[in-house]
Amino acid sequence: MTDIALNFEHRHSAHCENGVISNLFRYNGLDISEPMAFGIGSGLFFIHIPFIKVNGIPGTSYRIWPGQIFKRASKRLGVEMYSDTFRNPKKAKEALDASLAKGIPVGLVVSVFYLPYLPEVFRFHFNAHNLVVYGKEGNEYLISDPVMEHVTRIHEDDLMRARYAKGTPEPMGKMYYPTLMPKEINMKKAIVEGIYKTGYDMSHIPIPFFGSKAIRYLASKLKDYPEKVGDRKSILYLGNIIRMQEEIGTGGAGFRFVYAAFLHESGRKLENNWLIDKSKELTKTGDLWRDFAFKAGRVCKNRSADKTSFKDLSDILVECSHQEEKLFFELYSKIKTI
């Protein structure tokens, strides 16, 4: 295969999935920022399911599960996507090379563990990372990984390992790219639909594991950790809550702030001050989350799981929960009237 380097604009992002959406759509003529992709794709969420354990630690997530943001954002913006997985790694490689040869930058789902360009300490078995391949030189692919400040490269063997990582979920060489961009976009409609869905998810799901209720649920579990699971595990569990908040694998620094940035940008676009006010409210909640992470970090550092500090941390979460419930309830009930 001859060398190819497409003229792809790489923009550094907070989170991989939003970043790839934003970068790929922009290449195809739809200029959309990372927060817009996150908001229209209804990326913000909260999940705590204690009996689903990830590496022995109760599962917590601050966002919707991987792949959903993409699906929803494309649907709401009217973008048609090609997406496929391959049983045979050889076929996956051929399909990637063929697309590049046609001048199409390709999005891939990969495991973080097999990306040598990432700092070693972030390389866990997280199989739902997204990046864009925009060219090939010899046996190296040219990579635009949104969490990296600049474009980078990867050897074809490493990329193959990353595309065929095992575990849950298995990427199975998944690749995707937009095939048809909409002629006209009703931005307002897309924004409203995105907010409506997140508003519903955060305030109306009648199961305690999802939405703002789940934050309270986590809070109630958290305060009992020292008694129920002992010192060592309490600290490990707490550390995980911070990690999920800030950077799962190479997740996203503060999803609350990304969403607040989305509300802000939407407010400016639609000339709606109410959305700007809601953005400010969420920024405050985001700051409270940061406060929680900061204090939780100190507790982890001391490595002693005393009951009072866990109770205090739990109280902060309860406050976060109330603030988010109120905010998203309001967004849900009023967004369709703007």
């Binding site: 990372e34 700092p119 300490v121 400040e149 575990g167 990690r243 982890c300």
Partner: protein, 136 residues
């Protein structure tokens, strides 16, 4: 978070520092982006995970040295895997991989299977069999 509050706490972890995009508000309350190269709580949480991993790796290493486990157990920990994950990488059942963790079973593994394990761990068969770290 305000722009001027963006933390710049570089982790002590070797090969750790990375630049992250943060969404922050500027002096007029407008949203903008700022680069952070780390934040204390994240660093603590991450260091804690690696302390845990390193402790497991070392404990397993000692068990291999003492002949209680096979080298596969050591590389399993070192690659942050567990038995189900490793089993799917080498196309075996979990009970088979569990057996391979026994030193006496490891001795009798075929060259072909050893190559499979070595490939998964990104090492040579030689290293898998004779890593000086795993000898007395």
């Amino acid at each position: 978070m305000k722009k001027e509050e963006v933390p710049q706490d570089i982790t002590k972890l070797e090969k750790g520092p990375m630049n992250w995009v943060n969404y922050v508000t500027d002096e007029n309350g407008e949203y903008t982006r700022a680069i952070s190269n780390g934040w204390e709580p994240e660093n603590i949480a991450l260091e804690q995970v690696w302390d845990e991993v390193n402790a497991n790796v070392e404990a397993t290493r000692l068990k291999v040295v003492n002949g209680e486990l096979s080298p596969i157990a050591y590389y399993l920990e070192k690659n942050l895997m567990d038995i189900p994950l490793l089993a799917s990488y080498v196309d075996k059942w979990q009970w088979q991989v569990k057996r391979h963790l026994k030193p006496e079973v490891f001795q009798s593994l075929s060259e072909q299977l050893l190559e499979k394990y070595a490939y998964v761990f990104k090492i040579s068969v030689e290293e898998l069999k004779h890593n000086p770290l795993l000898k007395k």
